[in-house]
């Protein structure tokens, strides 16, 4: 429902609204489109079939429930490798109180031009104030026409969504970010064709041709210009030709035709106008996207050289990969544009020979040259961008490898330090054991001396020679006993057990452990080196060379 009270002053007589855009269509995509619209048993004309913008989500389910917002399509004409034409009755849900009988004709050309056209036959003026007009009238006010144009833009995006391949949808989403989401749109061009433009005067509705020179009227009447701008964007040029008055806007064209048959006579010229305009629009956004990628590349380059951390390196790498795939897709699109432009050459030459007429609004020969140059330049730019991204990926890889080499060096140093520590500990413990043995011997000698003193008191004196021999014998026996019990059985029971249960670790096993180290999570690589106990133990026994 319209919230504002519209001042409807200018009217179009049964206008044909064409929503025009350029979508990259290579031979594969064109075949996909043909197979999509000929899935039904009745591919041509006999019986229309439904088309939904939803995809099969659960392939295993045999019964499906879909929201009833569909289009019923009927194939009109298929010319292999050239054009596909079909009509669509659109049954998408509309706002409450709105009744639309929306039928759209779709022409898809293999050169990428997509035209969705409708002839608006009647529009409802229920509740309109300020002028006398039938409730359902074939004169369409410019205010209402602009709302119909938006409805068509929205519905044609939905209609085409399942007919396009994932490849095309991906490209469109790169060129027009978020456009696949609801409420977002792709930029499209609007071409409106009418036989007459009427103005509401005190005398009633009067043809603008009757009032005077249309070009002059548009110059003088600001309100007319404003209304037209609602449809085709900022008015840039008005050109009168014998066949039609052409109004060129920033977002489209309005052609006031001399008569109904003028459209047939001008068909090829208008198609060329559509193709040039839509290609230029697509190119503008393609290059804008290329510059955006360039910006992101600069940001990633900065991040890369700041070397904030290994985790960041992964993110940078990820982002660069995405950029690279986008650039590759854009490069591919440029090739498709190049093919379309080359195929146009013959048509341009032929049409220019016949005189330019409405094509005078853009110089086709110059336009073709300019497009060819743009394709070449875009290819070069994208190639440079790709080289740059690949270079940065190489740098990132080198940096990561260097980082890993440093980690390995630090690990080796750490192991070496551990081994030295263990050696020192071993020497210390040997020394301690000797002291222990010696101390044990001395203790035994002391005990022997005490036993001899007791014996001499009880029995009588013993010869000094015997005393010395007894003491020495006790010391030696004790030392041998101590050596056998403590040293042979093992002073480090834990370490001995571990070695005995897991088997003697080989030098190879140790080295393989060191090699496996870099596969640990990246944050560890830059953080503190932590050795596990098994590795510590084996490193101590079999130091890395």
């Amino acid at each position: 429902m319209i919230r504002d009270e519209l001042e409807e002053v200018f009217f179009l007589k049964e206008p044909i609204v064409s929503i025009v855009e350029w979508i990259p269509f290579g031979p594969h995509q064109f075949e996909h489109l043909i197979s999509a619209i000929t899935t039904s048993w009745f591919p041509t004309m006999e019986r229309p079939s439904f088309l939904t913008d939803r995809r099969e989500e659960e392939p295993r389910n045999c019964l499906i429930t879909l929201e009833s917002g569909m289009a019923r399509i009927m194939v009109k004409d298929i010319r292999e490798k050239d054009t596909v034409s079909f009509t669509a009755d659109v049954y998408y849900p509309e706002a409450e109180g709105i009744r639309q009988i929306e039928q759209i004709g779709v022409n898809v050309f293999s050169n990428g031009l997509v035209i969705c056209s409708s002839k608006i036959t009647t529009v409802s003026y229920r509740g309109a104030k300020g002028f006398q007009i039938d409730e359902n009238e074939s004169l369409i006010s410019l205010d209402r026409a602009s709302r119909i144009v938006c409805d068509l833009i929205e519905d044609t995006s939905r209609l085409l969504s399942t007919l396009l391949t994932p490849y095309q949808r991906r490209i469109l989403n790169i060129i027009y970010p978020l456009s696949e989401l609801e409420l977002y749109e792709r930029k499209k061009l609007t071409f409106i064709f009418t036989e007459d433009l009427f103005v509401c005067t005190e005398r009633g509705l009067v043809s603008l041709r009757e009032v005077g020179d249309v070009e002059e009227i548009l110059k003088q009447r600001k309100d007319a210009r404003m209304e037209i701008q609602q449809l085709i964007g900022e008015l840039q040029e008005v050109r009168s030709t014998p066949e039609a008055i052409v109004l060129k806007g920033l977002d489209g064209f309005l052609l006031i035709l001399k008569d109904g048959s003028a459209l047939i006579r001008l068909k090829e010229r208008i198609l060329l106008l559509m193709l040039f305009s839509s290609l230029n629009l697509f190119f503008k956004h393609l290059m804008a996207r290329a510059w955006m990628i360039w910006d992101s590349l600069m940001r990633e380059r900065k991040r890369c050289f700041e070397r904030a951390g290994q985790a960041d390196a992964l993110k940078v790498r990820e982002s660069l990969s995405e950029m690279l795939s986008n650039v590759v897709l854009l490069e591919d699109t440029c090739v498709t544009i190049g093919i379309s432009v080359r195929r146009l050459r013959g048509l341009v030459e032929r049409l220019c020979k016949d005189g330019q007429d409405i094509l005078g609004i853009l110089d086709p020969v110059q336009e073709l040259e300019s497009l060819s140059e743009k394709v070449e330049q875009a290819k070069n730019t994208l190639h440079a961008l790709r080289t740059d991204i690949e270079g940065l990926i190489d740098i990132i890889t080198t940096l990561v490898e260097e980082e890993m080499r440093q980690v390995r060096i630090r690990m080796d140093q750490n192991l070496e330090a551990q081994v030295t520590m263990m050696k020192i500990e071993q020497v210390e413990s040997e020394r301690l054991r000797l002291i222990e043995i010696f101390s044990g011997g001395l203790l035994a000698a002391e005990l022997m001396a005490l036993i001899i003193v007791i014996y001499e008191d009880l029995v009588g004196p013993i010869r000094e020679f015997v005393k010395a021999v007894l003491t020495l014998a006790v010391i030696i026996t004790f030392s041998i006993f101590f050596y056998i019990r403590v040293i042979r059985v093992g002073h480090l029971p834990g370490a001995t057990e571990k070695r005995s249960t897991s088997g003697p670790p080989s030098r190879e096993r140790h080295s393989s452990m060191v090699k496996r180290r870099p596969t640990m999570p990246l944050p560890c690589m830059l953080g503190q080196l932590e050795l596990d106990p098994v590795l510590e133990a084996t490193s101590a026994v079999f130091p890395a060379t």
């Binding site: 034409s85 009509t87 709105i98 639309q100 009988i101 039928q103 002839k119 989401l181 609602q230 068909k267």
Partner: protein, 199 residues
Amino acid sequence: MLKEGELTEDQLKLLLVLYMTTKPPHRPPNGTVVVERWAKEIFLLAIAYEGAVRGIFTYDYAPSVMLVGGAYRFVNVSQECLNDLRYLASKGLVEILSLATERHLFIRAYRISGKGREVVEAFLRSDRAEELLKEVKNLICCEEGEVMDASLKEEEGIVKVVLRCPHGHTREITGLFETEDVSYESEPITFWGSRHDKG
């Protein structure tokens, strides 16, 4: 010099909006850098839309695909408002700024010029001023008369313009991005791809 009498009421209101929301180059208190404040076109379109719906502006609006926040979406654009801005700029009352977006496409922003300020200040001394000022304040000021800041906010896919003042008052303009449907009937045209030039 252009006088306020030569401007339409809508143009005067638009100039008042710019007078209150934008600022020429100035050094803010305690600031070291000279700054200036501009209003993006989307803000002025939001005000024009809200003004049109509430009967403050006599503008019409119609949906059009426009670049908003880096993506294209439907916006109810008032061509009259844009035309008035262009007219005011042509008279030297408004400055236009071309602003590159992240997407390398350009948007416009507007600021009142020194000459524009003089015209507004002269107008504010006139008898008509109070009434017009009240209407404009109704659009861009909070209940306490403070000019509100504006930003775009997206919630569950619905974008709106949120006006907010330092006192915490907020107001939302939601209809700017909502397209209005009309009832109509149409016929398909596949004439463009036909071999025999028939519709």
